[in-house]
């Protein structure tokens, strides 16, 4: 009936009691602002930690060898332990059900040329499955395949930066690059976002490298990923198992830490996940704390507002305001202030996060942002809390005898 009038009445009350409105609004804006910033920064932290793991498969295990540090079974310490193709096949066969992808690796660094362009690049000789371990995404052509391997083809898969530097604008597939006087045909280009080191790598088939450059079947490294269905404990145990298998095969003392070294990403991942969990709990705690502080704040203000307005409400009652009219006057005012202030808080908070953007990357905060539904949810929580907090004193004020209300001078 007089809805529009009621809103006009509320708007006037807000406007004419600026200090009161600003004070209560400030509490809400500030609570929401802090809430938004906290969640944004927490997300930024999470993004940073996650980015540590996207470039490599997080379920990767890398095996390297060195010299023995302990005498064992008649061998003196200091004996060089060397991985070979046979060891690779052995591991693959023994752990077929636990391995997802596997590849041997040989590292080289050659001066590479194409026409008159010469540069030094890291060369990795690998098996075809290496693509999935390193998560290289092909932008052109293909990765090394089994046929390349078996036929010891002289083919190369080059990183985007290699392509840009050596071949400039030329279409790379089918072109040749020279390495140590041997021509390799480019069959693919890959790219890893924002990783110039990785984009400067050239992959060639493992067997080709062994035939042309090494004249043996040695490997620098074996890299594999375990079945992603494994949990931490299983993954860690699998790492230990591989080590034990190799120690037995290569006659290395079980307690020798240097001869065979296993790097298991599961160890790091577990730590990071635990850290993220703790940070998550902390953020949740602080976030809820902020919200509760906001709720307490708005509750106090509502009690104060009703007390301050007791006389006015008494006058309104004398003039014919029903209890319901009194309650809705107080509540709608509280809800309007809370909504407006909450919106302002979101606005400033998201604005601040956008301003921060990637400027705090040095502090492990990357692309801080908040999901709008979460913040809007927080505002709704505050609005509901403000309404409940306002309802109790408003209801009491609406039932107070006008004559008692008028007596409070």
């Amino acid at each position: 009936m007089f809805d529009r009038d009621l809103w006009r009445e509320i708007f006037q009350s807000i406007q004419k009691n600026k200090l009161r409105s600003i004070l209560s609004g400030f509490t809400i804006s500030f609570a929401i602002l802090i809430f938004t910033l906290l969640f944004g920064i927490a997300n930024g932290l999470q993004n940073t930690f996650e980015s540590f793991f996207v470039s490599n498969a997080s379920n990767a295990i890398t095996i390297r060898t060195g010299k023995t540090s302990k005498p064992y079974k008649g061998n003196q310490s200091g004996k060089k332990i060397q991985l070979s193709n046979a060891d690779f096949e052995f591991l693959k066969k023994k752990n077929a059900s636990k391995i997802e992808y596997s590849s041997g690796r040989i590292y080289k660094n050659f001066r590479v040329s194409h026409h008159n362009e010469h540069r030094n690049y890291n060369i990795k000789a690998v098996h075809p499955e290496h693509q999935f371990i390193e998560k290289s995404s092909m932008t052109r052509g293909r990765f090394i395949n089994t046929s390349d391997l078996h036929n010891t083809r002289k083919v190369a898969v080059i990183g985007k930066k290699v392509s840009d530097d050596l071949l400039q604008n030329k279409f790379p597939i089918g072109k040749y690059i020279q390495m140590q006087g041997i021509a390799f045909k480019i069959v693919g280009v890959f790219e890893e976002a924002d990783d110039d080191n990785e984009n400067s790598v050239i992959y060639i088939p493992l067997n080709t490298a062994q035939n042309l450059y090494e004249k043996n079947d040695y490997l620098n490294e074996i890299s594999l990923t375990y079945n992603p269905t494994m949990n931490y404990e299983e993954a860690l145990d699998f790492g230990y198992l591989i080590k034990k298998q190799l120690q037995e095969r290569l006659t290395v003392a079980p307690k020798d830490q240097r001869a065979i070294r296993i790097r298991n990403n599961a160890e790091g991942k577990k730590g990071i996940d635990q850290l993220m969990f703790v940070i998550g709990i902390l953020i949740l705690f602080i976030g809820f704390g902020t919200l509760i502080a906001g709720i307490v704040g708005i509750s106090n203000i509502m009690v104060y507002i009703v007390k301050e307005r007791t006389k006015e409400l008494g006058i309104r009652k004398v003039l014919g305001a029903s209890p319901r009219a009194i309650v809705s006057l107080i509540l709608l005012e509280a809800i309007s202030i809370t909504s407006l202030a909450g919106y302002l808080g979101i606005f400033i908070g998201i604005g601040a996060l956008n301003l921060i953007d990637d400027k705090l990357e040095a502090y492990f905060i990357q692309d801080p942002h908040v999901d709008t539904p979460i913040v809007v949810g927080a505002v709704i929580v505050l609005i509901v809390a403000g309404a409940i907090a306002g309802y109790v004193p408003a209801k009491r004020a609406s039932q107070i005898k006008p004559i008692v209300a008028l007596r409070t001078e």
Partner: protein, 231 residues
Amino acid sequence: MIALQKLHKSYPIGKGFLHVLKGLDLHVQEGEFISIMGSSGSGKSTLLNILGLLDTHDKGTYQLNKQEIQNLDEKKAAKWRNELIGFVFQSFNLISYKTALENVAMPLFYRGTPKKERQKIALHYLEKVGLKDWAQHLPNELSGGQKQRVAIARALVTQPKIVLADEPTGALDSATSSSIMTLLKEIHNDGMTVVVITHEEDIAAQTERIVRLKDGVITSDEKTAQTKITT
């Protein structure tokens, strides 16, 4: 207009009760200008609250505008207050952040009158109390007498059946008091029933009938020499 029969009211005090009104009988005809006198503690404020539907009585009957007042809920009391009664208080009780015009229009807001009409009617009544030019002023920009005039305009704006004035001149100097009393007289001359609660003899003497209250009972009820002034 008002008919009280054996009206009782008591308030709980500690473990006992304070018996304030002890069986009042009072009849007020339509169009009367009556004052209720008594010192503090005589029960006159309690009587005003009951008459104004701001409080309930315990025993006896109260008829207002031929309607029995019994067990009114808050909502109904608010509605009837709005329709039947205009209030004038000692401390004016204007809403401080609203202009004179908005204060006068307030009862119409709770009646659901559209804004334009509300303002038109309110302005008419402000004019009637001589404050048309002050319509856009806030209460704290007005003198005591002007505030009381605004309050009277607000009491009249709903065209009530009865105006209840509780010590309307209590906060005013004597010159202003008499101008307010003149205004009340004029309202009475227009046919309005006016009940003034006061403890001042000279104020009561300006009404047409004086009811004296002492310790919750009526001690005297007499007509005064006052007659209607013709305007």
